[in-house]
C-alpha cells in the first residue's frame, strides 16, 4: 500500500512516480517521496509516502496541513504533533525557538512573556515593524498562525516568578528557558529541578556578541536537562545581542527539544 497525498493507493511492484501521476490525472510538478524530492522516474517501494502537488495551487485547509508536513521524515511528524512545549521569554531566543518548533510541526506551544515589542528588539527578535507596541505573546501568536495554523498556541501574559513555573508548566513535555535576566535563568533551572522532574528542559547562557560560532554548545547538566551557549558571553555594554549568534543558540535549543521529544537521549549511551 502507498500513501499518496495521505490517501491509500494499492502498490504494484515496479511502479514509478510517473505511473502515480498518470493515475491521478493531475498536472503536478512537485514530487516528494518519504519527505524527499523525487522525479517521475523514481521507482516506488511498498509503504512509501508520496506527495504530488502543482506549484502555486492553493490548498484546502486539510491539504495545507499535509503539505506543511510533507517534508518531514515519516513518523517524526506524528510524534511531534502529540507534544506540547513551553517557552519562557519571547525575545531573541524564544521567538526563534517558537517559529522553528512550529515549522517542524509541534502540536502545541505554551508561550510566556509580559513585555511588548520595542523597536530595539527588532535587531534580533522575529517581530515586525508594524508590531511595535503589541504584546509579544499576541504578536508571536499572529506570526505562528501565519507560519503554521495547526499549532495550538496558548499564551501566559504575565511576568513569571520562580514559584509559578512549576505550576504553570506542569503539563508540558518540554520547557525552553529563553529569559534575558540571569536571575530568572537560575530561577527557571531551580524550579524545574525541584518541581518538574518529568519535564525535559533546555536553558541558555552565553550568546551575546559575534564570537566563535562553535563556542556555542549544548551541554547535558542532568538527565533530560541541557544548557546551550558558551556560558561566558554576557549581554553587556559593548557586547550586544546580535541576531546571528542568538539564532545559533536558539536553534540549538529547538533542535535539542526535538531530540529529547523523539527519544534521542534514551538512545545515547550515557
Amino acid at each position: 500500500m502507498l500513501l499518496v497525498n495521505e490517501n491509500e493507493v494499492s502498490f504494484q511492484a515496479g511502479m514509478t512516480l510517473a505511473d502515480l501521476v498518470r493515475a491521478q490525472g493531475d498536472d503536478v510538478d512537485i514530487l516528494l517521496v518519504n519527505g524527499y524530492p523525487a522525479t517521475l522516474q523514481t521507482v516506488l517501494s511498498d509503504g512509501d509516502q508520496c506527495w504530488l502537488w502543482k506549484r502555486g495551487k492553493t490548498p484546502s485547509a486539510e491539504e495545507m496541513q499535509h503539505l506543511l508536513y510533507a517534508r518531514h521524515s515519516p513518523g517524526v511528524q506524528r510524534l511531534l504533533q502529540g507534544k506540547m512545549v513551553g517557552i519562557m521569554g519571547l525575545g531573541g531566543l524564544g521567538s526563534v525557538v517558537a517559529i522553528a518548533l512550529a515549522r517542524m510541526g509541534i502540536g502545541a506551544l505554551l508561550l510566556a512573556d509580559y513585555d511588548v515589542v520595542e523597536p530595539t528588539n527588532l535587531n534580533r527578535q522575529q517581530y515586525f515593524v508594524d508590531q511595535v507596541g503589541q504584546k509579544k505573546t499576541a504578536a508571536l501568536r499572529d506570526i505562528l498562525q501565519r507560519v503554521n495554523p495547526h499549532v495550538g498556541v496558548t499564551v501566559i501574559d504575565q511576568r513569571l516568578i520562580e514559584d509559578d513555573i512549576g505550576v504553570l508548566f506542569k503539563n508540558v513535555h518540554a520547557l525552553v528557558e529563553c529569559f534575558d535576566d540571569p536571575a530568572m535563568k537560575a530561577a527557571g533551572l531551580r524550579a524545574v529541578l525541584q518541581h518538574l522532574p518529568g519535564v525535559f528542559y533546555v536553558c541558555a547562557s552565553g550568546l551575546a556578541g559575534y564570537g566563535d560560532n562553535n563556542a556555542i554548545r549544548t551541554r547535558r547538566l542532568y538527565s533530560g536537562v541541557y544548557l546551550v551557549g558558551d556560558e561566558v558571553s554576557a549581554a553587556a555594554p559593548g557586547e550586544g545581542l546580535m541576531a546571528a549568534r542568538v539564532g545559533i543558540a536558539a536553534h540549538h535549543q529547538a533542535n535539542q527539544v526535538v531530540r529529547l521529544l523523539l527519544g534521542a537521549e534514551n538512545e545515547a549511551a550515557e
Binding site: 521569554g89 524564544g94 534575558d180 540571569p182 536571575a183 535563568k185 533551572l189 547562557s205 551575546a208
Partner: protein, 66 residues
C-alpha cells in the same frame, strides 16, 4: 576547611555558608544554581546552608542575554 566547587578545591573558613562561598568566587548568588552534596538548594538556603569540610558543590552560573 576545604570544599569542592565544580571539582576545584576551595579554602573556606569553618562555618561558611553557601553565600560566603559564592562571594569568595566572585559569583552573584542570584544568577547561580547550587547543588550541594547532591541536593539542589532553594534560594533561601543559600544564606542558611552551612558547608562542611569536604562538601561537594556543583555551581551552574548564568550570564544575561536572551
Amino acid at each position: 576547611m576545604k570544599v569542592f566547587c565544580n571539582g576545584q578545591e576551595q579554602e573556606l573558613t569553618p562555618g561558611a555558608r553557601v553565600t560566603d562561598c559564592l562571594n569568595t568566587l566572585g559569583l552573584d548568588p542570584l544568577s547561580v544554581v547550587v547543588e550541594c552534596d547532591g541536593k539542589i538548594l532553594t534560594r533561601e538556603e543559600y544564606a542558611s546552608h552551612e558547608l562542611q569540610d569536604g562538601s561537594v558543590l556543583e555551581l551552574i552560573r548564568f550570564v544575561g542575554g536572551g
